[in-house]
Subunit: 348 residues, 2 copies
């Protein structure tokens, strides 16, 4: 049972849906649940507010933090769904295990999200293309300066409205010097440290005129892994090609959904290593190639220019590109316009 | 100018010097300094207390955190010194740069530490082997759920008493599956993410009967890099051998000090790649080999057993081992018993 204390008034009245920056405005409530003495205490949903923390909290020093990110949508008929919370739940626990943090129960995670979204669904307007971004996260809270696994944790869920993410086609640079994640490391976990570590390489790419980097494997820098904080996929003819999962690649929920949709559309899906040289060869052969990022935020982010080892190539991004069909189909499922064969939509 | 607000009474009266766990008891004050609108605000030293934080603070989500760790000692004549704060300062800023965080001025960092240690030096007893562990750290505080470099930061310094760290000889396992850091990554930075990521491999090693792991390079797993959260060094005859610095190895202050001391003692110092096969060959030749971790906490941590690719070898750890001479000399310098040729001691 979640103890609920409702906020007296909604911050929504001061929120401008027509002009806002993503991630700044929390909704009215936060779910909080403490872990101590080896077990989870009872969760509560409270009015959104700052939290008090010891300056010695382990999460501030040793990066013992894990998060998730998913979305809730209002369907055309008015009903609100959460997209694949079960898959996010499993990934959350996989991340937690790698970071030596205690698992959460499916009940706490999914019922917590549902309960919170029920309270916040009024933030989802009927007329506008706004969805709710849901951020469950866990931080190590034991106050202790020694390098050690924390004995205390705080699990939270917050939400924030998200507009239609217009994904302008991007210019990406294949990164062969900096590394996001190595096999045997924590790249497959959604732990905080992976993201802070990726800022500098992305900043350097910006200086060179690119929007983001495409990560390559730490061992040889010959294989592509991810695109910034998205998975990466390629379409050539009727094939969808995407790097095979490994300990250095995040198991994206959008990636998995797009793979399923591509199969349903009759495409051949190849999950395997993707070599830079293969891409170069395909481009040089004059083939029509689509390259795109896949992730919760933008769903699909078309790549219009890719710098591979110093040479720029130009993937196909016209309106009839296959990636947009995949995106539309995913969107149709979520909005209730297309049949939800795989039970991806969880009604609140 | 640091604004100082003294605590009304010291927590020291309730502190048991004869029986305490490292890192739990803060001293009475904390230094706090906020960064916003592109510049550092004025620092203050306040009574130690919890801090208020937005649940959306970027540090809780994307691991934009950096820390340092150094020590203050009471010398035999009663004077208090801080050991090489200038070198810790440079490393702090190097870490910050890699994490896209704003540099701090030497004045804020070193004067902040000195001022704080002046207030806390009464925590250093005359009679006991207690020193003060000093923890400067910086966290990203902008409340924002988007993956971005923070525009706001909090720089803090806290202290905690530290007892004589009895470093029992340890059993270490050479890790060839899990990875702490890759070249091109953030291993050389003291960012939080590196530490949380290392918990799981260390836990697995414990299950297998070892105290910690020895990290190898992410590319080939053929070269040793560090020992847990310490640098690693080897003594064979009159040679001190230690892995050469790279982007995957932390530039340890103790490592650098021990190298200097070894040179002063007439040893040959080799900073270079150290291959596992080389160690195996040396052990198999029957040579006397010393292996030890080097770091601020224990200074030197003797290795009594090392598992290399499944075989255990037994380095030399008797009382006459060279590593103890190096440790004693470092300690003598800090305590004022030996001349401080390199100005490592900063009086408060
Ligand atoms: C590193 C990384 N890769 C890929 C993804 C895409 O995963 P998902 O589709 O589950 O959002 C994310 C998260 O959005 C990510 O942070
Ligand atoms: C990963 C790592 N290596 C090495 C060291 C040793 O560095 P120092 O001698 O500056 O304490 C530390 C910190 O103590 C560390 O965290």
């Amino acid at each position: 049972m979640i103890n609920i204390q409702k906020s007296k008034r909604s911050m929504k009245s001061n929120f401008n849906y027509d002009d806002f920056v993503f991630g700044v405005q929390p909704t009215d409530h936060i779910l909080l649940c403490n872990y101590k003495d080896g077990s989870w205490q009872s969760p509560s949903i409270m009015p959104y507010a700052d939290i008090k923390m010891s300056p010695m909290s382990l999460c501030l020093h040793y990066g013992q933090t894990v998060f998730e990110g998913m979305k809730a949508f209002r369907q055309d008929n008015g009903q609100v769904i959460i997209f694949r919370p079960d898959k996010h739940f499993r990934r959350f626990n996989a991340s937690l295990e790698r970071m030596c943090m205690p698992a959460v129960e499916q009940d706490l995670f999914i019922e917590g999200i549902k309960e919170l979204v029920r309270l916040e669904e009024h933030w989802l307007p009927e007329e506008q293309e706004i969805n709710l971004y849901i951020r469950p996260f866990m931080i190590a809270t034991e106050p202790r300066l020694g390098v050690k696994v924390s004995d205390e944790y705080l699990f939270c869920i917050v939400c924030t409205p998200m507009g239609l993410y217009y994904s302008e086609p991007v210019r990406l640079k294949v990164e062969t010097e900096f590394v996001r994640a190595a096999e045997g490391g924590v790249g497959y976990a959604k732990c905080g440290g992976n993201y802070g570590a990726a800022f500098y390489p992305a900043q350097q790419a910006k200086i060179q005129g690119y929007d983001q980097v495409i990560w390559t494997d730490a061992k040889t820098h010959e294989y592509i892994e991810e695109a910034g904080t998205m998975n990466i996929a390629i379409v050539i003819d009727d094939r969808l090609i995407t790097p095979k999962l490994s300990t250095s690649i995040l198991d994206g929920v959008t990636r998995s959904s797009i793979i399923q949709i591509a199969k349903d559309l009759g495409m051949i899906v190849e999950e395997r290593k993707v070599q830079l040289q293969e891409l170069i060869d395909e481009f040089q052969s004059g083939k029509k190639i689509e390259i795109f990022g896949v992730g919760t935020a933008a769903v699909i982010s078309p790549v219009k220019c890719i710098n591979i080892l110093g040479t720029e190539y130009y993937p196909y991004t016209a309106n009839d590109a296959t990636m947009f069909k995949l995106k539309k189909q995913l969107n149709d499922i979520r909005k209730g316009r297309s049949s939800d064969k795989y039970n991806w939509n969880w009604f609140i």
